[in-house]
């Protein structure tokens, strides 16, 4: 009996330990072929709002708490875009940081009042365990992100 239990647990451990070591498909399968540059979405968001887009880039940050968002680096230096998914529908593993991803989703606009922006930034800093200075937010914030529906992480 003890041996059987040990074997079952070892098996679970082995199988789950090998998860994420290769290409990962998360959420819905990708349906689009042509990639929209992150810089293009950031530059002309009005062209893409509400539309399904496929973006590609390096994952530079992952939500440490629930894996419910990632930041994808833009093709333009120092720019990025956030991909937000419904909690639990897709869970980005922390190991995805530094890997290339193709993400498909809906481009959306987020409008926050100054108070909401401070609260969101505070929440994000808490999640990531980083410092946050509320004085860095001086007014309402409009940002663009992609509501992620499916992703392939290489």
């Amino acid at each position: 009996m003890k041996t059987s239990i040990a074997v079952v647990f070892c098996l679970i451990f082995f199988i789950a330990s090998n998860v994420h070591s290769t290409e990962m498909q998360l959420g819905e399968p990708l349906t689009l072929d042509s990639v929209t540059a992150v810089s293009e979405i950031n530059k002309h968001p009005e062209k893409y709002l509400g539309q399904r887009v496929l973006i590609e880039g390096l994952i530079i940050e992952v939500c440490a708490k629930r894996g419910c968002w990632v930041d994808i680096a833009s093709d333009v230096p120092f720019e990025k875009i956030q991909v937000k998914v419904v909690d639990g529908e897709i869970v980005f593993p922390l190991e995805a940081k530094g890997r290339l991803a193709r993400v498909e989703g809906i481009a959306e606009e987020i409008n926050l009042t100054k108070e909401q922006a401070i609260e969101m930034a505070r929440h994000r800093a808490e999640e990531q365990g980083t410092a946050f200075d509320p004085t860095t937010i001086t007014g309402p914030v409009t940002s663009y992100r992609v509501k992620g529906l499916g992703a392939v992480i290489q």
């Binding site: 679970i12 199988i15 789950a16 530094g98 290339l100 365990g129």
Partner: protein
Amino acid sequence: MNWRKWNFILHRDIGYLCIGLTLIYGISGIAVNHISPRFNPSYSIEKSSLYTTPLAAGAEPDMAYIRSVLAEAGETGGFKNAAFLSPGILRIFVDGNTLDVETATGQVAMEKIRRKPLLFEINYLHLNKGKGAWTWLADIYGVAICLLAITGLLMIRGKKKSRGILLSFAGFIVPIAYLFIVL
């Protein structure tokens, strides 16, 4: 064989089948219940900082510079990628570690992540991160647990009947009372 005998057999055998997953879901349930900025149930996250040799003024960081930063940081994990987060802040990704390097000063902020043995795996199952076939298996387990509860309820009889009714009632009333208070 009367229905009570069948009920007993079902309760016993479903119970055996559910032991493994009940332990997995129970232990993981306790762990994920306590998610907070200070507690990640699946990963150990260790932050630290150190100083390395700054990048010479006017120089562009290249693989040789990245290798030297990693060597000074004692980092031996496999190199994954590197990207500039902002002018002067280079983020280097290696397996299990992310290093943010302030190239002008050489200051490095490191964030090492490591899967918590066993907890990572059982949380992976409990939170159904893999989706696909596990969704069906978890649904079957959910149905099995419901059957276990129903067959258990039908076993209440004899001398211990009042105790069975009382404890079963408590199992319903505790969550209902809690919801009544908090909602």
